[in-house]
């Protein structure tokens, strides 16, 4: 009773999720590039990519639902499909964060340019690395790599808090720059959320491979 076709379908599902991941990653990278160079046309690219990401999310969910209904998967296959469904939702939210960033960049470009003493590209690089490593852990079914992603989240959170403190001071000291500071603060918050989604993806990889639920700092197996 080997299930060759079913396992081929699981491979197809994985491949499709990786295409989705590529789209979400590209949207984030473009949004950050738009911030870095101040180019509104790149923001348009990000906004235009959102419907395709949403369509792909629905396709993947449907494919996963079909496999659950038709194949009654067990054990690691069941955990894989559940993880794909959850990772899919996280990737869609990563795409949403990219759109949110693009909107803030657009707003920033409509305002007078000011120098704010925060390093958004550094935070973006860290959050993007988390996403990349979480996805690499998914590709390689590597829970050890996924665990490293979990550890990076604290760094992203701390960087976001530092940016918050800095920008709060900026708003107090130079209220005329409040709008710009708020835009950047929201971008930092969006990137912090990207890190959270990467954390969720890493947790799902650990659940898939080991059957262990490590969400909310649970350290024991399910």
């Amino acid at each position: 009773m080997t299930r060759t076709r079913f396992h081929q379908n699981l491979d197809d599902l994985k491949e499709k999720l990786l295409v989705m991941a590529g789209m979400a990653e590209q949207a984030t990278q473009r949004a950050i590039e738009a911030y870095r160079v101040g180019d509104v046309s790149i923001c348009d690219l990000v906004t235009r990519s959102e419907p395709a990401i949403n369509r792909m999310e629905r396709d993947i969910d449907q494919m996963a639902l079909d496999l659950l209904a038709m194949e009654q998967p067990m054990a690691i296959d069941l955990r894989f499909i559940l993880s794909v469904i959850k990772i899919n939702a996280d990737l869609e939210r990563v795409g949403d964060q990219a759109v949110n960033i693009a909107e803030r960049v657009r707003d920033l470009q409509s305002l007078p340019q000011v120098e704010l003493p925060v390093d958004i590209p550094k935070l973006a690089t860290l959050a993007a690395t988390m996403v990349r490593n979480a996805l690499q852990a998914f590709i390689d079914a590597d829970p050890a790599m996924a665990e490293k992603v979990l550890l990076m989240d604290d760094e992203v959170d701390e960087m976001n808090r530092a940016i918050f403190r800095t920008l709060t001071r900026c708003i107090q000291d130079r209220p005329e720059h409040s709008q710009q500071a708020l835009d950047v603060l929201i971008i930092a918050r969006n990137l912090e959320r990207v890190g959270d989604h990467a954390t969720n993806i890493a947790e799902d990889v650990i659940f898939w491979v080991r059957g262990a639920d490590v969400r909310h700092h649970l350290q024991t197996g399910s």
């Binding site: 009773m1 299930r3 079913f6 998967p73 067990m74 054990a75 690691i76 399910s222």
Partner: protein
Amino acid sequence: MQNLNAWYGGTHTLHDINLAIPANRATALIGPSGCGKSTFVRCLNRMHETNPIARVTGSVKLGDLDIYNDASPVEIRRRVGMVFQRPNPFPTMSIYDNVATGLRLGGITRRKRLDEIVERSLRRAALWDEVKDVWKSKSGASVSGGQQQRLCIARALAIDPEVLLMDEPASALDPISTAKIEDLIFELKADYTIVIVTHNMQQAARVAEMTGFFLNGYLVEFDATTKIFTNPTDKRTEDYITGRFG
């Protein structure tokens, strides 16, 4: 059971099985054909030894009773009932007599008493409502396959066993009859210890609290059903239930 080994002639079919089956629960046994699960259940009521070339060593206990040393096979089979893959009612007997025969052999002959027990057994097997008007007139073989299987369960329950062994009890039945048998297993486990051999893993997942996986005569893994089907410990269990071999 401790260090249970079984042979058919020179073939060693069960190897050192150590297992504690919980009372008043359903325990499912899964594994590929020829893995030893049916031999195993036949060792639990001494059916295995009805084959002259079969042999068993080790101990099987029912409570404190060592079934191979402390009681006769007939006594054990009264306390450990069995239902087989294909319904096997006595075709020339009425529904009533199918259930009453075992009772008569056990010495119960008063009509009123027999009526009471047969009705109770048919009710417990969820068959009473369907046959109450014809239970004494219709042959046991004249009802549907699903009803025949529930009749066999009623027959097994009539002699009030402690354990009910079921060897693929629904594999010859349609989905509706299968669902009725599964519902029945769910209800019966409040009063009986049930051991069910099944090739249908979804069925094991639906009805059993505990599941054992057999392979090549070895008990590879025995654990809570939820654990076996979501996160088994042994790679061989995982490969089997996910269809990577078998």
